[in-house]
Structures are given as structure tokens and as C-alpha cells.
């Protein structure tokens, strides 16, 4: 019982903390973000397993975490408001070639982030060649160049 409750607490806590930290926190991983993910996993692992290293505990933990994920995906499908709450919505930060500074500030996106995405996705090197830039729910930036 303890294991399931621990896994549930850690799952919900991570969900809330990562949601509050913003879409961009773990998107487009830099080497440091990668290290951060490793540290996070190591930290929460201790809290979940406590001092029970048995296989039963591991199986129970995996089942709980995957089960929660499946349950949440089912609920998100059923209730769009929940999906919005958990996954947020995409946001257009550049429309018809015009940057929207308020939305960029809200999502902590800079011109350099947009240019970086434009170079990687479209081979475009200038802001005036971009028509639309969208920060997706995953935190990635999608670029639509001017045609």
C-alpha cells in the first residue's frame, strides 16, 4: 500500500512542479537539462523505493506509474478541460511576421529561441523570413516560414 501511495505522491508532485516550471523547462534539452533530468530521477527514486529493494516493490512501482499515466490519458481524452490543465495549449508567439512580446515573455521565449528553431527546422536565418512561430504544448517551437 505504502508503495502505491508513494508513487502516486511523487507522480502528482512532479506533474505539478513541472507544470509550474513552464513548458520550456525540459523541452529542447541542453546538456545541463539532461543532467537535471538524471538528478531528478535519482532524487525521486529514493523517495519512492524507501529501503525496499525487492522486485515486488519495483513491479508495483512500475505498474502504479504506468497505470497512472494510462488513467490520466483516458481522463484527458474524456475531459478536454483536464487536458488543457495538464498539457496547456499551444501559443502563437509570431503572427504574420510580427512578434508578440507579451506571449513570448509569458512562455519565456526569446528571439534567439525562435531563430534557432527556424534554422533547425526550415534552414531560415532571419526573423523577417518567418510567418508564424508557435510554442507547442511540449515546449518546442514550430516555425512556418513565409512563402
Amino acid at each position: 500500500m505504502d508503495t502505491v501511495i508513494r508513487a502516486l505522491c511523487v507522480y502528482v508532485f512532479l506533474l505539478v512542479v513541472l507544470r509550474i516550471s513552464g513548458k520550456r523547462t525540459l523541452s529542447n534539452m541542453t546538456p545541463f537539462d539532461f543532467v537535471l533530468v538524471l538528478i531528478l530521477s535519482e532524487t525521486v527514486q529514493q523517495a519512492m523505493i524507501d529501503d525496499d529493494n525487492s522486485m515486488t516493490n519495483a513491479l508495483l512501482l512500475v505498474t502504479t506509474l504506468i497505470g497512472l499515466d494510462v488513467l490520466l490519458s483516458l481522463l484527458k481524452n474524456r475531459f478536454p478541460a483536464l487536458e488543457r490543465l495538464i498539457d496547456s495549449t499551444p501559443v502563437v508567439v509570431m503572427q504574420d511576421g510580427e512578434l508578440n512580446r507579451d506571449r513570448m515573455k509569458g512562455e519565456r521565449v526569446g528571439e534567439d529561441d525562435i531563430l534557432s528553431a527556424a534554422r533547425q527546422q526550415e534552414g531560415v536565418g532571419r526573423l523577417d523570413e518567418i510567418d508564424y512561430a508557435v510554442v507547442e504544448q511540449t515546449g518546442d517551437i514550430t516555425i512556418i516560414p513565409k512563402r
Partner: protein, 167 residues
């Protein structure tokens, strides 16, 4: 709000929701900062803010008022020379304490131990009757939330400890 047109593209952008989300995120960052400050100050255990001392020269207990589950902590009992003239003394701890804490070590080791009523008792020899005897319990909290413990010696009113074990 479902998919709709924003300029030339179709997207399920919801600006009202996003404005709320950004406000909540900023508020969340303030909560993060407060939690960090509380942690740094030791209010969440293992710090000066939660270290407590109760009792007098005859019987004094030092303990942490906020503990963390499964993190080792100390309970230090000092029995002064005025408490008992004998070369041995008996220390009582609520039996509940042993149910909520795994006692890792007791320093010095008791000569005898057992249960009497709602208490566990430990008999210790006093090395130097002229000086206070100090007993340290290294314990690992096994329970959660609030724990009430009485610590006593014969002939003295018990000291009451309130501890909070964080998950």
C-alpha cells in the same frame, strides 16, 4: 476552446487560459522560493529552527521537533546528578515511541531494558555520579505526522515531546 483560426493557421490556442496559467506559474515560483527559504532555514527539519530543548538540570531532552521519514535523527537525554543519588537510573520512554521510530543505536548501551505499562524503560549505570549522564538515541522515524512522546525518570514529572514526521 477547440481548434480555431488564428490568422492563416488553425490551432487550439486559448489565450484566456494561458493568461491564467502564466499568473499561476509566477505564483508557483514564489512558492518554490518560499519552500527553498524554509528549507535553508531548517524549518523542514535538520536545522536550527527545529532543534528543541526541554526540561531542567535534573532531566533535559534535546530533540528535533520536525523530522523526516527514514532520516536518522538524535534524541539526547541528559540526567543531572541532582535527579537521582543512585549509581544507576531508569529512563522511561513512551512505548509508542518505539513503534514510530526504529532505534538504531543507544549510547551508552543500557544495562537492561523492557516494558512497563505504556512505557519502555532503559537502565543505565552512571559512570561519574557527580556529573550529568548523557544518553543518545539514534533513531530512524518509521511513522508519519505527529508523534507525542513522554520521557521520564523515577521521581520526576515526565517531559512531553511533540514531533512532526514529514513524509
Amino acid at each position: 476552446m477547440s481548434v480555431h483560426d488564428v490568422g492563416k493557421i488553425q490551432i487550439n490556442q486559448n489565450l484566456r487560459f494561458l493568461a491564467k496559467e502564466w499568473r499561476v506559474q509566477r505564483l508557483g515560483w514564489v512558492v518554490f522560493a518560499l519552500l527553498l527559504l524554509l528549507g535553508l532555514a531548517g524549518a523542514l527539519g535538520r536545522g536550527p529552527l527545529t532543534r528543541r530543548t526541554t526540561g531542567d538540570d535534573a532531566l533535559r531532552v534535546e530533540y528535533e521537533s520536525v523530522l523526516r521519514h527514514a532520516a536518522i535523527s538524535d534524541l539526547t537525554v541528559t540526567v543531572g546528578p541532582s535527579a537521582t543519588p543512585d549509581s544507576t537510573f531508569r529512563l522511561y520512554l513512551s512505548a509508542d515511541y518505539l513503534a514510530q521510530f526504529d532505534v538504531q543505536t543507544i549510547l551508552p548501551e543500557p544495562q537492561a531494558s523492557g516494558f512497563r505499562g505504556a512505557y519502555a524503560y532503559f537502565d543505565f549505570a552512571r559512570v561519574d555520579p557527580a556529573h550529568a549522564a548523557q544518553i543518545v538515541f539514534h533513531t530512524k522515524p518509521a511513522g508519519y505526522w505527529r508523534i507525542d512522546t513522554d520521557v521520564a525518570i523515577d521521581g520526576k514529572a515526565p517531559l512531553h515531546l511533540e514531533q512532526l514526521i514529514l513524509p
